[in-house]
């Protein structure tokens, strides 16, 4: 049976930082700009806004993907392990985190012009967190997990 490698302290700190970014700081900013929200606020949102949010949250995942790809451009760098899983996880992580942020900020009554920016930041953070889990739990063949 293969022995699991204990993550380094730096790795754990980076993971904690990303989780704090995802779960704490950005929703706190959204609540900071909060105004009283009405009960039927979500029902009153036009369909186009949902489409825009879908695109914005995908952009966060895309930004995470491009950020990682740009790190692997130098010839000395290793190739991305499991590229399909990596891209899917990035996009999914960004998508989920972006929608969570959208609902939180809409409920909090965050000013409209800031909502999509917060969605992008949160989805980028979500993509980064999921990416690290992929790196951790999907090691390359012959490599310790």
């Amino acid at each position: 049976m293969q022995k699991l490698e204990v993550p380094t302290l730096r790795y754990q700190l980076i993971l904690l930082r990303n989780l704090a970014l995802l779960l704490g700081i950005i929703p706190a900013v959204a609540w900071g700009f909060a105004e009283p929200a009405t009960d039927n606020q979500l029902a009153a949102i036009p369909t186009v806004v949902y489409i825009i949010t879908m695109v914005s949250s995908s952009l966060g995942g895309l930004a995470g993907t491009l950020h990682r790809v740009s790190k692997h451009l130098e010839p000395s760098e290793t190739v991305i392990r499991h590229p399909k899983i990596f891209v899917a996880a990035n996009m999914l992580g960004g998508f989920v985190a972006g929608w969570v942020m959208f609902f939180v900020s809409t409920h909090a009554g965050t000013p409209t012009l800031l909502v999509q920016g917060l969605v992008l930041m949160c989805s980028f953070g979500g993509a980064a967190v999921v990416e690290r889990f992929v790196d951790r739990y999907f090691p390359a063949p012959g490599e310790k997990g």
Partner: protein, 139 residues
């Protein structure tokens, strides 16, 4: 245009100018603080993108803005989100603009620049690994 970097440079210039104009037109002393903050951020990021387009694409080769070239994809994703934010505000009636479709098209163009930039850099990195005498980054 045969050189893909020239076409990308022209598109970059357009996207940054358009986003900069959107940010500039949105600034008004009567606007609430969050709106001023959003438009100021859009204007600042558009200026950074403009610096990248002018220094790395138009000026002679010995002038270089390395940081903006390295994080270009992120600058243009942020610009796309900025345009989508203005589109969001236009749809819900908080920002008056008759040509909302322009924001959607500009956002699409900004995403195209971000993806093409990484694609071209990846292509160039592969070419350079085959022929090390090529320059580091033509963009």
């Amino acid at each position: 245009m045969r050189n893909p970097y020239t076409a990308l440079g022209a598109l970059k210039l357009y996207v940054c100018l358009s986003a900069g104009i959107t940010g500039w037109m949105g600034l008004s002393p009567t606007m609430p603080m969050p709106h001023l903050l959003a438009f100021s951020l859009l204007l600042c990021v558009a200026m950074v993108g403009l610096v990248d387009a002018v220094v790395n694409d138009i000026m002679p080769d010995h002038y270089e803005a390395a940081w903006t070239a390295e994080y270009r994809y992120f600058i243009f994703v942020v610009l796309a989100t900025g345009q989508l934010s203005v589109l969001h505000a236009t749809v819900v009636g908080e920002h008056e603009e008759s040509t909302a479709i322009r924001y959607a098209l500009d956002a699409a163009a900004a995403v195209l620049v971000a993806v093409l930039d990484i694609g071209l850099r990846r292509h160039h990195a592969k070419t350079r690994s085959a022929d090390p005498s090529l320059p580091a980054d033509p963009a």
